[in-house]
């Protein structure tokens, strides 16, 4: 059993809080943080610990075909998995004969994944692996994480998107100024969220108030895409903008139930009217795709899938 430890000594940086984290090989670990902190963490890991970071910043051989690239890396790293298997694993067999400069961004990303996988480095640290790629590519990445786990290689994934952190990690952490805290992905119905007793009692609520600077904006429930919890604060999300709300998720959950809202995850309430798609990832994880401008996806807890299928009369 291999594991890998990040501790204070390794960090030793002014702009990062001190923390220590043991990364086990039996589950994938994700760290969610803002981009500045992520950049600092990458720098620290690279310089102080000498760990290669897989951030897709290096180039590939653009004139060569996908297959030529894979063959080269395969031979260079002395990978034991046969090439056809790699091509299938990373869903590259359909574009194997295409030169890289003609490939889409998602296809190129899968070549990067294949390269990193074949390098056999331990531990593996990925930075924003699934940022801006299609669902197929995200699925190959999840499959790859599974393979890496089977090979007993500890994995750390750095992301700046909470949804990605929850989707990829078996153990998700959040890094902010106060330190590193686990994001609870427990399936239990709201374990720690405090119910404030002085919440307004009216159920006859037609507008949801949110604060923007000094102004108070009132939203109609149907225009809201979803509500997410960030640092214990509920944020209303409409398209790509979010507005802070005063009440907590559990308070607002009750009020919005009659408008067709549903608590699909510990930190998310979704407007069921706006759900376009239920995405099923490998290893029984789910996401909901929202029908808004940016097609956001939000996590759906494993235990809630039954419930949601009933709500949509899918069963």
């Amino acid at each position: 059993m291999a594991h890998f430890i990040i501790d204070q000594e390794m960090i030793n940086s002014e702009s990062l809080p001190s923390f220590s984290l043991t990364i086990d090989d039996s589950y994938a670990t994700t760290i969610y943080s803002d981009t500045d902190m992520q950049a600092e963490l990458v720098k620290v890991l690279r310089e102080n610990a000498g760990i290669p970071i897989f951030d897709q910043q290096e180039g590939l051989y653009n004139r060569l075909t996908v297959e030529n690239n894979i063959t080269f890396f395969h031979k260079w790293f002395g990978c034991r998995t046969p090439i056809p298997e790699i091509l299938v694993l990373f869903d590259l067999h359909s574009c194997a004969k295409k030169p890289l400069y003609k490939c889409s961004e998602s296809e190129i990303r899968r070549v990067y994944f294949a390269k990193y996988f074949m390098s056999g480095v331990s531990p593996m640290v990925f930075r924003e692996p699934i940022h801006g790629v299609d669902i197929r590519t995200i699925n190959t990445f999840i499959n790859m994480l599974q393979k890496i786990k089977e090979d007993s290689i500890p994995v750390l994934v750095l992301v700046s998107n909470m949804e990605h952190a929850l989707l990829l990690g078996d153990a998700a952490y959040k890094l902010h100024d106060n330190g590193l805290h686990p994001v609870e992905v427990d399936e239990e119905e709201n374990a720690s969220e405090p119910d404030s007793p002085d919440a307004p009692a009216t159920t006859n609520l037609f507008k949801i108030p949110a604060k923007v600077d000094d102004k108070m904006i009132l939203f109609d429930p149907p225009e809201i895409d979803y509500i997410e919890s960030q640092d214990g604060k509920a944020m209303i999300v409409i398209n790509d903008e979010s507005y802070a709300m005063d009440s907590t998720l559990s308070e607002i959950e009750k009020k919005l139930e009659i408008y067709g809202f549903y608590r699909c995850h510990r930190s998310y309430i979704v407007n069921l009217q706006k759900v376009r798609e239920i995405i099923t990832w490998s290893k029984n994880t789910y996401s909901l795709r929202i029908d808004n401008k940016i097609q956001s996806t939000i996590p759906l807890s494993r235990t809630k899938i039954q419930d949601i299928q009933e709500k949509f009369s899918l069963k």
């Binding site: 290669p52 290096e58 004139r63 030529n68 080269f72 031979k75 030169p99 990193y116 390098s119």
Partner: protein, 234 residues
Amino acid sequence: MNVQRISAIFEKDMKDFMRNITMLMMPSISIILALVYNGMGIGGGEDEYLIFTIYVIVGVTFSAVTSVCMVTMMAEEKEKKTLRGLMLSPASFVDIITGKSLVTGLITFITLVISLLIIGFEPLLNVRAMLGLILMFLFFLMLGIGIGLFAKSVAAASAYSMPVMFLFGFTPMIELFGLGEDSIAIHIAGVFPIMQAVELHDTNSWLPLGIIAIWVIAAALFTYICFKKTRTDD
């Protein structure tokens, strides 16, 4: 040294070479030059200019193919940062250079054989001339590696290779500038590797080979210094 890695680089760069138009143009320069000289009626016979012409072509091949290909290949990897993640140890860097040198060597050999078949190769069929060619290949190869190590982009690489081509590749042309017999330029050019190789055919001494060997050692030193410098930069 890891044979598997060297062959991985060799195969990759061979395929890449075939798809790179800039690099494919390089061998054609010396082949076209050979065709032009042949059309002027210099090649083939016992012309007194034959040796001179052969060495112009040898110089062009070594500078345009050997040095420039090496520089371009290394500069391109650097510019596109393709080597990041591959260089797990300094040893793998030597593997990369060896693999690329093999590609360059093969292409140089093919170009040289084609060009010489066009213009005529009889004067080169003796041990000393062959040794001279091998030493000169090493000289141009090391020069190429050295420049490739500090050139950061393909554009910079072509700029750096220009003086090399003119100074070392086109040395026999300096005589055609119409300078006086005993001008300093002619004397200095006289000790350059290509001129020494021409000299080989005029005398029976082994001295010209010795001078070429000194050039090779100088180029090796230059490469080594560049290598040390880039290592400390990283």
